[in-house]
């Protein structure tokens, strides 16, 4: 779960970089839910375009989502290929493990993205546990 320091009540004005933060979290979720690969490429484009000039809030969210997306690729694609390779394509238990693993891993990543998006919408930083880069 993203770190949740005491909330700082926000005013009506958006903090600098909030739009970019929301875009990054949205692209992370798009990559997981709608357009795998394309969402990640757009996120990478966002990262390279703004890596030097992004306000601190946006930088945190962009870094977190890029890092989490790379982890997601490994956890969802590589790990499942490994399970199938080790267990065999024609074994019942392979599919029990693959489907359970994929569903829980994918869902966990999506929920982290939802929490990240909620924090971005509130103009707050966020850190994904384990798979996110540490806050500067």
């Amino acid at each position: 779960m993203p770190a949740s320091p005491e909330p700082s009540p926000i005013g009506d004005a958006s903090p600098p970089g909030q739009g970019l933060a929301i875009a990054a979290e949205s692209l992370y979720l798009v990559n997981l839910l709608l357009l795998p690969g394309l969402g990640f490429l757009l996120l990478l484009w966002l990262y390279f375009r703004h890596r030097k000039d992004a306000p601190p809030l946006a930088r945190v969210h962009v870094w977190q989502t890029v890092s989490a997306s790379l982890w997601a690729g490994a956890l969802l694609v590589l790990a499942n290929l490994l399970i199938v390779a080790l267990g065999g394509y024609q074994a019942a238990w392979t599919w029990v493990v693959v489907i359970l693993y994929f569903t829980t891993a994918h869902t966990t990543l999506v929920v982290l993205g939802i929490l990240g998006l909620a924090r971005a919408l509130a103009g707050q930083p966020c850190r994904y546990p384990v798979i996110g880069k540490l806050l500067p």
């Binding site: 009540p9 999506v110 939802i114 919408l121 707050q124």
Partner: protein
Amino acid sequence: MQLHYQSQAVAKPYFIAAIALFVGQILFGLILGLQYVIGDFLFPAIPFNVARMVHTNLLIVWLLFGFMGAAYYLVPEETETELHSPLLAHLLFWIFLVAGALTVVGYLTVPYATLAEMTGNELLATMGREFLEQPLPTKLGIVVVALAFLYNIGMTILKGRKTAIGMILLMGLVGLAVFFLFAFYNPSNLVRDKYFWWWVVHLWVEGVWELILGAILGFVLLKITGVDREVIEKWLYVIITLTLVSGFIGTGHHYYWIGTPGYWQWWGGIFSALEPLPFFAMTVFCFNMVNRRRRQHPNKAATLWALGTGVMAFLGAGVWGFLHTLAPINYYTHGTQITAAHGHMAFYGAYVMVVLTIISYAMPILRGREANPERAQVLEMWSFWLMTVSMVFITLFLTAAGILQVWLQRIIPNPQPFMQVQNQLTMFYWMRWLAGVVFLIGLTVYIYSFFARDRPQTAEAREGQTATA
């Protein structure tokens, strides 16, 4: 702490009855869980079909008690006026409780066919269908209670302030009553019967109940976060729109392979693929509101329940629903333990948790304080984690059982018969039952939390802090 409106007090017996029936539901769930692995457990006293009927019917009835209690609590506050008739609310409570209790006693003491004969099923045959097993007098009683309840809530809203939360709740409650009327339509053609049966079952839980869920969640978040009403209302509009757009035509995912036209595979697939969206939005909504909160409400347990509702509804109804909602997948998974996995987590995540959210928020106020003592809240949060984690495991074990069932029964070149496959799922059923026991422990802790008080030294320390402040 005083109630804003004295008539809100009528919610209290509804909440107490809801929790009592919840206990009954879980006990019968455990009996059922054992019957999966010890086939003649409690037979012939409580046959499997009877235990299942009691388990599911109690769930529906206690959730309805919870919704009614929630409405009686939040409507006076939203409308800024006393309830139209607290007396009617009390009367309906006893009618509904006695009718519900008699129905369960009937299920347990009389053979179902005899019960049908005794209760006039030959006059208008409505019994014998899953979830709608209630005898005719009970069904008629539900209609009377629902109409009188709607009259009471409707008149209150009419004379008071109209808010989005109140109107969404009313819309959901009207829908609940209207769609229940299809319980009386029981055509002899089995396809037609199932077609309209889903108008009660699906359009309740994936339609109008979601409106009730949204309204209750919106109300609690409004109170505990202090976020502007306008912000909450905008979120609710988005959630409700997504619900109605996806949920109604999404009924089509129940029409695969039952004899309805093939186009339902497209309509059902496309629209039910959209059904996770309102739950997705609901989760973002809950966390966004808590992140933007303008006050630190002392009721931390209610905040936890509200956040949990968002996440677990998304997982159970959204993700586990999507898992088997597309026609090509459902071709293999239809009616397997994967459906049971989805049903358990969706009902718990969406409706059990939202009722526990409003109870968690309202009960302390109904008992004269803004929030429960710290120790009671800690216990309540323990119960939250025990019940929620055990429900996650129940879902995972049933999912594993379902995948294996699909493989053995429908994928392999020489598919095995149903009971032979069931025999091979025993390990998962045992693990599911153990998770169910942990759930019951969580529920026990939850009930105990209502009676827990701070230890004397904690209470003194808190009083000292208050005095210093």
